[in-house]
């Protein structure tokens, strides 16, 4: 049974995440007018937003504590929010500010918050092996922490994922792999790149439990993830969970989605996990005032984070050369300025 508190918490994360993506979209596109230039505006670079995928984040992270590890792929914001990553510092990172989570070095695909054991990677499926490693560390230390690796359905054909399934299985490690199936890998529909419609069947080949949640209902995800994470904490090994979610926006901002049938985009927008969650809350007897209040507070939290982030200083250019090593070797330099390192002489 999901408690009212948990329901409200999940709903809060979901509306926070949805509103966050909508606001980032606005901020991102501002400054990219009239012509879209990826390097212009307050948020430069690629931006992959997760509107429509909130249920997969909320239903899983509801079972996690700070000491549990989560690795996220290039589309990480909803998961970061549900895992409890500091929203202000995450936003400052996305805006490239010095007080961002990673001092402006990582950017939106590479968010790291070690206080809640959250890490990102932009290389498809390459967050899976480190999640297995986090689980290995927990097991070796006799702790009952778990690790969760998120990936998209396009990533399940990648060696790094399949090798991780096998390693986690043969070592019986406390890992949950969560596939967010949004039907698309950039412009490639799922059926073009795999003959297995149900990605959780990949688990069969590794003698691991696999489960698919066919609709983006946070409560159904909660049930499935609860079972898997409970099993992992009890020392009973890994699970593969796939959740059907929806990509409400382009692959990245600026993607005109010329390859995507109109009807598919429309369908993605109609299946709204947030509306579904609201009716779940109502059915649980949570009154509308409470729901409105959660929504309003979540929106305010996002506005506060964005306002704070935009107020933060940009990094000093020289900071580019720090952080290469934790313990820079004596005599090592990053070779910063031209002409510093050599001036070979013949007959000079």
């Amino acid at each position: 049974m999901i408690s009212d508190t948990e329901l409200q918490e999940m709903y809060g994360w979901m509306v926070t995440a949805r509103y966050y993506e909508e606001r980032l979209q606005e901020e991102y596109l501002e400054g990219k007018q009239p012509a879209f230039d990826i390097s212009a505006g307050p948020i430069p670079g690629e931006l992959h937003l997760a509107a429509g995928q909130e249920a997969a984040a909320a239903g899983v992270c509801s079972h996690l504590r700070d000491a549990d590890t989560v690795t996220a792929p290039h589309r990480p914001h909803h998961v970061a929010i549900a895992k409890g990553v500091d929203l202000k510092r995450m936003t400052a990172e996305i805006f490239g500010r010095r007080t961002g989570l990673c001092k402006g070095k990582g950017g939106h695909m590479h968010l790291f918050d070690s206080t809640v054991n959250f890490a990102g990677s932009g290389i498809i499926a390459e967050g899976c092996p480190p999640a297995v490693g986090a689980a290995l560390a927990a097991e070796k230390r006799g702790e009952d922490n778990v690790a969760v690796a998120y990936l998209g359905e396009g990533a399940i054909s990648q060696g790094g994922f399949l090798e991780s399934l096998n390693l986690a299985s043969v070592q019986n490690l406390p890992v949950l792999f969560v596939i967010e199936d949004n039907d698309w890998a950039i412009s490639m529909p799922k059926e073009r790149v795999t003959d297995v419609g149900n990605g959780s069947q990949r688990a069969d080949g590794f003698d691991m439990p696999g489960k698919r949640v066919d609709y983006d209902d946070a409560c159904a995800v909660y049930e499935a993830a609860g079972e898997a994470i409970g099993r992992a904490r009890d020392g009973n090994g890994p699970t593969l969970l796939e959740v059907q979610v929806h990509r409400r926006m382009g692959h990245f901002m600026g993607d005109a989605e010329g390859y995507r049938p109109e009807a598919d985009s429309e369908r993605a927008k109609q299946r709204d996990s947030i509306e579904r969650m609201e009716s779940t809350l109502q059915k649980a007897g949570i009154d509308d005032d409470t729901i409105d209040d959660i929504r309003d507070r979540s929106h305010q939290r996002v506005e506060d984070a964005i306002e704070w982030a935009k107020d933060q200083p940009e990094p000093d250019p020289d900071e580019a050369y720090n952080d290469v090593f934790t313990n820079p070797p004596a005599g090592w330099t990053p070779n910063t300025k031209p002409g510093q390192t050599e001036s070979a002489g013949g007959d000079d």
């Binding site: 990826i38 390097s39 054909s157 950039i186 580019a320 990053p334 001036s343 013949g346």
Partner: protein, 342 residues
């Protein structure tokens, strides 16, 4: 650069680097059934950086193949198909993703000819996007020129203009060896990533090849030699123009790294006595060091100053002021050139 009316009569057309690449691929595909393209988002999307734009419409899905996100799988499949006599073009979306398929690249593609005593050859093109300047951070901004050029057995090509992109692509597809074709995103002429002036050039409409191993002297000068490639050819030319009153700068575009046109570099430094290497790759153990080494081996007595303007030995940061700091700009090149004459 050709005027619009002139181009009509000479059969040339002003075009972007991506259009030039696509026209070479299309022409080779019309000529040979052995040529086909494999990659992520190469079909309907036309390549994230427009490198295959429009090919699906003409050649269909059999020839313009979207493949699963499995770089080891499809790059390795290109190796196998090439060994079976086909001429595949495999696109690695960003050079930064090389790690995921690296064994197929350097242990199979690059070595099978040698290991087989030339009983096998691998006539494929590995086409890949490189470079930063748009805040895509550490995993999506590298050039890695030195990494690929270091490992024996692959030819490595880096065009800086549309005209070169087309000729080098024809040569790459017809070559009987594996060719790594590294195109800089900022030069492609993509709508959402404006290119600087320079890469868009007049391009002959007929097919033509450009021999590997021939650097292009972009600008002649007597005082200082700047050796560079890719995006930084254009930055170096800007720097040279800005310096025109005080220093006479020669700018050399390497165009291919394997083979490397050492002779053109030596000829130039024998004349100028001063060498500045400008490279968007990391500083140490790479391209800039190699050029300096060759210059000193071949023209030590002529050299009075050597500088390298490169990315530092640090991963590439996200935030705008940080990336601008590390990626060599026009001013960095000007400073380095000036420092050689002090």
């Amino acid at each position: 650069m050709a005027e619009a009316d002139e181009s009509e009569t000479t059969g040339e057309r002003e075009t972007t680097m991506s259009r030039a690449m696509v026209s070479a691929i299309a022409s080779e595909m019309r000529d040979s059934d052995d040529v086909f393209v494999m990659g992520e988002d190469v079909a309907d999307y036309g390549g994230i950086f427009d490198s295959t734009d429009g090919l699906l419409e003409e050649f269909g899905r059999e020839k313009i193949m979207d493949v699963p996100i499995s770089e080891t799988g499809f790059i390795g499949a290109a190796v196998g198909a090439a060994q079976a006599g086909m001429r595949p073009i495999a696109e690695l979306m960003f050079a930064d993703f090389f790690g995921v398929g690296m064994d197929q690249i350097y242990n199979q593609m690059a070595k099978n000819t040698y290991m087989s005593g030339s009983t096998v050859n691998v006539p494929m093109v590995l086409m890949t996007a490189v470079g930063g300047t748009y805040n895509d951070a550490a995993q999506h901004s590298q050039t890695l020129y030195g990494t690929f050029a270091h490992l024996p057995g692959m030819k490595v090509v880096v065009p800086s203009t549309a005209a070169d992109a087309k000729g080098l692509m024809h040569t790459a597809i017809r070559d009987d060896d594996p060719v790594v074709y590294m195109f800089h995103k900022r030069l492609m002429g993509i709508g959402w990533m404006p290119a600087p002036d320079g890469p868009k050039t007049s391009v002959p409409e007929d097919d033509y090849t450009i021999d590997f191993g021939e650097a292009d002297v972009k600008r002649e000068g007597d005082d200082v030699t700047v050796v560079t490639l890719g995006l930084h050819v254009h930055r170096a030319l800007e720097a040279a123009d800005a310096l025109a009153e005080e220093v006479d700068v020669e700018v050399i575009d390497l165009r291919t790294l394997v083979p490397l046109d050492t002779e053109t570099v030596l000829e130039s430094v024998r004349k100028t006595g001063r060498l500045v290497v400008v490279d968007e790759d990391y500083h140490s153990f790479g391209l800039s060091g190699e050029i300096v080494a060759r210059a000193t081996e071949g023209a030590l007595a002529n050299l009075s100053a050597v500088r390298r303007v490169t990315m530092p030995d640090a991963p590439i940061p996200y935030a705008r002021p940080l990336e601008q700091e590390v990626n060599p700009g026009r001013e960095d090149i000007i400073e380095a050139v000036q420092s050689t004459t002090e």
